[in-house]
Subunit: 448 residues, 2 copies
Amino acid sequence: MSQAHRQIKLGLLFNSPGSDRPESAAAADGRPAHSLLGYYADIARRLEQARFDFLMVADTVSTESAHQQAPRPEPVTLFSALAGITRHIGLVPTVSTTFTEPFNLARQLQSLDQLSDGRAAWNVVTSSNGERNFGDAPIPDHGERYRRAAEHVEVVRKLWDSWEDDAIVNDHGRHIAVRADKVHRIDHRGRYYAVEGPLNVARSRQGHPVLFQAGSSEDGKAFAAPFAEGIYTAQQTLAGAQAFYADLKGRVRAHGRDPEHIKILPGLCTVIADTEESARRLDDEQWNDIPPHVLRALEQQLGGIDLSDLDPDQPVPAERLPALFAVQGRQSRYGIFRDFALSERWSVRRLLRLQASSAGHGRIVGTPEQIADHLQEWFLNGAADGYILMPSQGPGGIEIFAGEVVPILQRRGLFRRDYEADTLRGNLGLPVPGSRFGQPPAHAARAG
Amino acid sequence: MSQAHRQIKLGLLFNSPGSDRPESAAAADGRPAHSLLGYYADIARRLEQARFDFLMVADTVSTESAHQQAPRPEPVTLFSALAGITRHIGLVPTVSTTFTEPFNLARQLQSLDQLSDGRAAWNVVTSSNGERNFGDAPIPDHGERYRRAAEHVEVVRKLWDSWEDDAIVNDHGRHIAVRADKVHRIDHRGRYYAVEGPLNVARSRQGHPVLFQAGSSEDGKAFAAPFAEGIYTAQQTLAGAQAFYADLKGRVRAHGRDPEHIKILPGLCTVIADTEESARRLDDEQWNDIPPHVLRALEQQLGGIDLSDLDPDQPVPAERLPALFAVQGRQSRYGIFRDFALSERWSVRRLLRLQASSAGHGRIVGTPEQIADHLQEWFLNGAADGYILMPSQGPGGIEIFAGEVVPILQRRGLFRRDYEADTLRGNLGLPVPGSRFGQPPAHAARAG
């Protein structure tokens, strides 16, 4: 893809921080006018109309937050339901490697890719909690989880490769639907998994689901570089985002991959209004009254400390904050909070607002033009290939973005006016991977 | 429900024996006019129009059949996709207890129940193969699988109960969406599973998914009696079906349950034409040329024996057939084949046709009136509460059933003209279960 035509990629995170209320409302009534699926479907249709690349949903298998907000449908089922309702937009469920079997997951995601006709992805996470719902074993530590995850992803990719593209033939007369020589056992025997294969789902129009990854720690970057095609990352500053972008693209190149084949997509919370002043007022109003569960979330974000005895208008004492390597989950995100707490000496109240409004992701408050300027600046200055948007005004914020920011980006030639393709890979500018078992192997894998 | 208004319940099994060809055709072309989801969606819409109770799909996590027929989407993803496209019809995925974590499965199925607004079920199976895709351990034997399955189902049910019906409140002012006192840890510690809970998905309009069960062996019946609400069973004769029906209803009563709250639904293959003669000719033509993979399937069905050296027009020698208890999977189905082979001295060719056409399920060939007569006879004579249909003419057979058999049943007052309810439980006449953690506990569980 030539630099001249390089365009911003846009995704939406369904469960954005600070935007759970409308969704809770949809789920709250015994029989809402608007069904739960209807809530998601309306947003999906609107963003498809606005030519968004994809929808994404974060996930946890922990129930610690069950008392804090309305529970949401499991990501694979949610996006399967949306597959039947949408036609172009990509579907990016988050699923943990720590609590799933590679065969089951490879199968479900490849089925989603088939049912959506080539629009599925997998946002790979390793989970930092939830283990008490899966037996007695303690959760593996950060490094061990990533080692296991690397093998998990490898098994899933082998299973996706176990069917060659031309394995299914349509020869009714001879009653043969599948060419046995085009379907391969994988015979994987590794440190953590033993899986024979083949998968029992064939390849899709885009080969297999796009691979997203959402960890930005050192372990996370090393894990992502060999395979990830989309990166969801939390970045607060242009300089920080540029450093992350250069670092990860360099790592990808070092693995012999084309750096264009990984899209770096910082999360971005938005508060948008007609004037900057009213956007700021809207933002202030929204966070005047921070829900009580946010304190608990902030304590978790800071490595599990207790903040309840502190003066909310004073900085967090340095001795309360654990070292980065000692934090077992969301390590890179903790780094952001720790920097604000230590270097900028933010008060507990200000950190609470950061948690409530964006959970450490970038945040921009202003007019549609200002939002567009921000997206353009990071995009043109080596900080982002696109964004995963987290509008903090719920469906209203999504509508303002789709209706007012997108047209500005389109006028500036920074965002598509129509879908380039009808697969997620096609729209993201990613190659269709060939099967490692196919002929010719390496060549086909590189061809767009 | 009074006997006077007792009506036949009807489901469709998507992947019927002998009907895989149209589906293969849909999947075969790189980009078919008809997408894979479109194939399923057309059938779903047609049967919703005909007021069917539910759609079901069988499943295996084994890839042994991958070379035999086109692979199909994984059941939970398939039915989630159909949830968005349909409004009334029930969705019954088959999922194995042997290869899933109770927390993940409870969560996905409850999500499907939420996304479909109360139309989900779970057809519980224990799987007799597939273990080589899930590590090194051999598959547990028949009895052990059922013991594990019983605990698995119990954990899933506890997780579904972990949210009381009124756990979600909509109180924006106080930022409270969930009442903590209405969400419960399950703290399950059993022989096979340790699961803390609560689930992170709330209850649906029908409480939780309907529980189907598909094993008819002694182990299977003992397993089903305490919890199953729908039974998928293979029955060849009226007398055999009556005995099974009476046995299982009696077991259900012995568990203190209302026998009306379990629906016994034999599988039934149909070949339908305007005259009996043309239906018979159609059937003969269809099985003149039995696909080669059916021999392998029959060998598996008979407990893993080798039939390739036998004269296809001679009976299977008795010494080739293993004892019933020695067969580790599909034990009750093996019993049917074994009876035909030993008592009726069926030839290999005839057994092959039984496998190819119905895999041991009941089979009826005739006019729409004759099909309706058969359904009526079993229904009125204590052999069935309804049927899981497996039309062996593909989508054409489904259309004939919906367009010609259903109206006859409606005229006879045996089948609904409109849905009674908009949940699967409502249409099947099953009670909405209360949460075991709620108040009042036992009473609510029995209330319709």
